[in-house]
C-alpha cells in the first residue's frame, strides 16, 4: 500500500512538472498583459509535434530536437503575439480573450490537417534516448530513469527561469512591467520587447513540456493541447495567477492530486477532481495559494 502511494506520488511529480512548465507560460503572460492565453496549450502541442518531426523525419538527436522545438515555439509565440494580441492591446480584455480562443482553434485544426486525427506515436524510448531502468526506493517503491529525467529537466528549466527573473536586467524589467505596465513604460522600459520576451520564454517552456510529454507518454495528438492546457491553467490559478512560484507549486500539486485520486481508485474522476479544485479555489481563494495582491482598481 505504502509503496503504491509512493509510486503514485512520483508519477504525480512527473506529470505535475509538465503541468508546471505550461502553467508558467499562462501565469507570466497574465501577469504582464492580463490576458489568459488560451492558445498556450496548443503551443505545447506544437512543441510536441515539432520534436516528433525532428526526431523521425530529420533524424536529429533527441536533445537537439528538444532545443529545436523550444526554439520553434519561441518564435511561434512571438509571431502569435504580434498578429493576434498586440493589435488588441488597447481594446477590451474580452476581445483579446476571444482572439486567443481563435488562435487555439486555428492551431489545433492546422495540426489536424497536417497530421491527421489519429494519435501518432513517439519512437520508443530505447531508440531515441536510453533503455528504461527502474531503481528501487524505500518500501519497495520504484522510480524509472525516464521519470527522473522528466522531473530533473523540468526542475532545471524552472530554476533557470527563477534565476533569470530574479537576477537579470530583463528579468527585472519583466517584473516591473507586470507590477505596473504604464509606470514601467514611463521609466523607459521597452514594454513591447518585454512582452515579446515573455511570450518567447513561456512558449519555449511549453514546447519543452510538449517534448517531455511526448517521450514520457509516447503519443502525440492534434487535440492534446486542449485538456493539458485547461489543467495547466487550473494549476496556474491554483498557485495564484501572475505568480511564478505559484505556477510551479500549482502544477505539482495538481499532478500529485490527480495521481492520488487514481491511487484510491477514482481514476474515472481524475479530470473532475482536477477541475473541482479549480472551482473550489475560485470560490474560496480566487487569488490562489501564492496569489499576490489585490486586483487593480480602476
Amino acid at each position: 500500500m505504502l509503496s503504491n502511494l509512493i509510486v503514485q506520488f512520483i508519477n504525480g511529480i512527473a506529470l505535475g512538472s509538465t503541468y508546471a512548465l505550461i502553467a508558467l507560460g499562462y501565469t507570466m503572460v497574465y501577469g504582464i498583459i492580463l490576458l489568459i492565453n488560451f492558445a498556450h496549450g496548443d503551443i505545447f502541442m506544437a512543441g510536441a509535434f515539432v520534436g516528433l518531426l525532428l526526431v523521425t523525419v530529420f533524424h536529429v538527436h533527441i536533445i537537439i530536437a528538444f532545443l529545436g522545438a523550444m526554439l520553434f515555439c519561441m518564435i511561434m509565440g512571438i509571431i502569435i503575439e504580434k498578429i493576434a494580441y498586440k493589435p488588441l492591446r488597447r481594446s477590451t480584455r474580452l476581445a483579446a480573450l476571444i482572439s486567443a480562443i481563435g488562435v487555439s482553434i486555428f492551431l489545433s485544426n492546422l495540426a489536424n490537417l497536417l497530421f491527421g486525427a489519429k494519435p501518432t506515436s513517439f519512437p520508443p524510448t530505447e531508440q531515441i534516448l536510453f533503455k528504461i531502468q527502474t531503481y528501487e526506493l524505500v518500501a519497495g517503491a520504484q522510480i524509472t530513469n525516464l521519470q527522473i529525467l522528466t522531473i530533473v529537466t523540468s526542475a532545471l528549466l524552472m530554476i533557470g527561469l527563477q534565476y533569470f527573473i530574479k537576477k537579470s536586467r530583463t528579468g527585472k524589467a519583466m517584473r516591473a512591467t507586470s507590477q505596473d505596465y504604464d509606470t514601467a513604460a514611463l521609466m523607459g522600459i521597452n514594454v513591447n520587447r518585454i512582452i515579446s520576451y515573455t511570450f518567447a520564454i513561456g512558449s519555449s517552456l511549453a514546447a519543452a513540456g510538449g517534448v517531455l510529454v511526448g517521450i514520457y507518454f509516447g503519443v502525440v495528438k492534434y487535440n492534446m493541447g486542449f485538456m493539458v492546457g485547461l489543467k495547466a491553467f487550473t494549476a496556474a490559478v491554483l498557485g495564484g495567477i501572475g505568480s511564478i512560484p505559484g505556477a510551479m507549486f500549482g502544477g505539482l500539486a495538481l499532478g500529485i492530486g490527480e495521481m492520488l485520486a487514481v491511487a484510491v481508485g477514482l481514476s474515472s474522476y481524475r479530470d473532475a477532481i482536477a477541475f473541482g479544485i479549480l472551482i473550489l479555489v475560485l470560490l474560496f481563494k480566487p487569488t490562489g495559494l501564492f496569489g499576490t495582491q489585490i486586483q487593480k482598481k480602476v
Binding site: Q8, L15, A117, P119, V219, S268
Partner: protein, 399 residues
C-alpha cells in the same frame, strides 16, 4: 450617430449571414458526401446504401476498412447487373468518432439521400446512438462491427453481422484460463465507451465463472494518454494478465506504460476492439503476444474467403481483415434480402433480411436468430506475433 448606424447595419448583416449559414449547415449534415441525383424520391435505377463510420478519428481504421469492403461488394454487384437491375451506390460521410456528427449524418441519409439501408457503425456506442433514428424512420441499419450489448433490441430495423461479445468474450476467457493458465486478472474498462463497459461485464462474468480471480479493477477515459497511475496500481497487485475491454489506441498505450514500469512479460487479452495495426504502431514491442477474439481471419480461409482476400489485394492493395470482410458481407446480405423480397424499399425487404439463414459470408457463415441477433461461426482467437495478428485457434460455434 454615424457610427451607431454602421454598427447596426453590420450586426444585422452578420445575423442574416449566420442564419443563412445555419440553415444550409443543418440541411447539409455530414462532411464528404457523394450526392446522388436530386433529393427527391428514390431514383428508379439506383439503390443507395449509406456508409456510417469514422474515417479520420480515433476509430478511423474500422471506418476506412468497412468502407473499402462495402465498395468492393458494390462493384461486384454492379458488374453482375446490380440489385434488381438497379446500380448500387455507396453514399459516404465521416463522423470523426463524434456521436452528434453521426446522428446528423444518419438524418441526412434518411431525409436527403433517401438510402435504402445504412451500413454502420463499426462501434457499439455510435450504433446505439444512431439506430433509434434509422429504426424510427423505418430504414434498415446493419452494423458490420458493433459487438456489444443492447443493439438489435433497439428495433425491428436494426441488424448486425458481427461476432457478438457474448460469444467471443467467454471463448477467449476460456482459452486464457484453461490453455494459457492465467487466473489472476487485472481488468481495465474504458468508462466512456459502451463497447468497453458491456464487454467488461461479459469478461468479468466469464472470468469468475471459469475459476479466475480479478485482483484489481481499473478504469480510464477514452482520449486520455496518461495511464501511469492505473498501471502503477495494477503493478502493485501482481496480476498474471491484463484484460482490457476497450479500443486499440488506449490498449497500445496501456501496454507501453506497463513495460515502462517494469512489467516485462505480462500480455493483454482483449476484445475485437484491439483489431487494428495502430495497436502495435502505438504499443511497439509491448503488445507482442497479446490475444483477442475476432470474427475473421485471413488464415485457413474457405473458398469464398480466399477469393475475397485475393480481390481485395488486387483491387485496393489492402490486406483483408475483420472490418473489410464484414462490411463486404453486410452489403451482400442486404442485396440477397432485397432480391428475395423483390424490392429495395426497407419496409418491404426487412422481413426477408430477418430470415437470413446460413449466409455464406467471407467472414463466416451467418444466420440471424429470431431476435435478429447474428450467430457466426467460428470464433477466431488471434495473437500478435511480429507486429501482426496471427491465428491462434478456431473455436466453432453451435448455430
Amino acid at each position: 450617430m454615424f457610427k451607431k448606424k454602421n454598427l447596426l447595419l453590420l450586426v444585422s448583416f452578420i445575423l442574416i449571414a449566420a442564419i443563412a449559414g445555419l440553415a444550409a449547415g443543418c440541411g447539409g449534415g455530414g462532411d464528404t458526401a457523394e450526392q446522388g441525383e436530386g433529393g427527391g424520391a428514390a431514383d428508379a435505377d439506383v439503390v443507395k446504401i449509406g456508409f456510417l463510420g469514422d474515417l479520420t478519428g480515433d476509430t478511423a481504421v474500422y471506418g476506412q476498412n468497412t468502407l473499402t469492403g462495402m465498395k468492393m461488394a458494390a462493384e461486384e454487384l454492379n458488374a453482375a447487373g446490380g440489385i434488381l437491375g438497379k446500380q448500387v451506390q455507396i453514399v459516404e460521410a465521416d463522423h470523426r468518432y463524434d456521436k452528434a456528427e453521426a446522428a446528423n449524418i444518419v438524418q441526412k441519409y434518411i431525409t436527403q439521400d433517401k438510402v435504402s439501408a445504412i451500413v454502420g457503425d463499426p462501434t457499439t456506442g455510435i450504433t446505439k446512438a444512431t439506430a433509434p433514428i434509422s429504426n424510427g424512420a423505418k430504414v434498415v441499419q446493419i452494423s458490420a462491427g458493433a459487438t456489444g450489448l443492447e443493439v438489435v433490441e433497439i428495433g425491428p430495423y436494426v441488424f448486425r453481422n458481427t461476432l457478438l461479445d457474448t460469444v467471443g468474450g467467454p471463448a477467449t476467457i476460456d482459452y486464457m484460463i484453461n490453455e494459457l493458465g492465467f487466473k489472476k486478472v487485472a481488468l481495465i474498462t474504458a468508462v466512456n465507451s459502451d463497447f468497453s463497459v458491456g464487454l467488461s461485464k461479459i469478461f468479468k462474468e466469464a472470468i469468475l465463472e471459469k475459476g479466475g480471480e480479478i485482483v484489481v479493477e481499473e478504469s480510464l477515459q477514452e482520449g486520455d494518454t496518461d495511464f501511469s497511475g492505473q498501471i502503477s496500481n495494477i503493478k502493485s497487485k501482481n496480476p498474471e494478465v491484463i484484460v482490457y475491454s476497450g479500443y486499440y489506441t488506449e490498449g497500445g498505450l496501456l501496454m507501453k506504460e506497463a513495460r515502462k514500469q517494469g512489467m516485462a512479460d505480462i500480455i493483454m487479452i482483449g476484445g475485437d476492439g484491439l483489431q487494428a495495426p495502430t495497436f502495435w504502431e502505438l504499443g511497439g514491442d509491448a503488445v507482442e503476444g497479446s490475444v483477442s477474439y475476432c470474427g475473421f481471419s485471413p488464415e485457413q480461409p474457405t473458398a469464398e474467403t480466399a477469393k475475397f482476400i485475393e480481390d481485395l489485394k488486387a483491387k485496393y492493395n489492402m490486406e483483408a481483415e475483420l472490418f473489410s470482410a464484414q462490411g463486404y458481407d453486410a452489403v451482400k446480405i442486404l442485396a440477397a434480402a432485397m432480391e428475395k423480397a423483390g424490392s429495395t424499399d426497407p419496409k418491404e425487404f426487412v422481413d426477408e433480411l430477418a430470415q437470413t439463414k446460413d449466409f455464406p459470408g467471407v467472414s463466416g457463415v451467418t444466420t440471424f436468430r429470431e431476435n435478429r441477433e447474428p450467430i457466426k461461426s467460428p470464433v477466431y482467437l488471434l495473437q500478435v506475433k511480429d507486429q501482426k495478428w496471427t491465428l491462434l485457434k478456431k473455436v466453432p460455434v453451435e448455430m
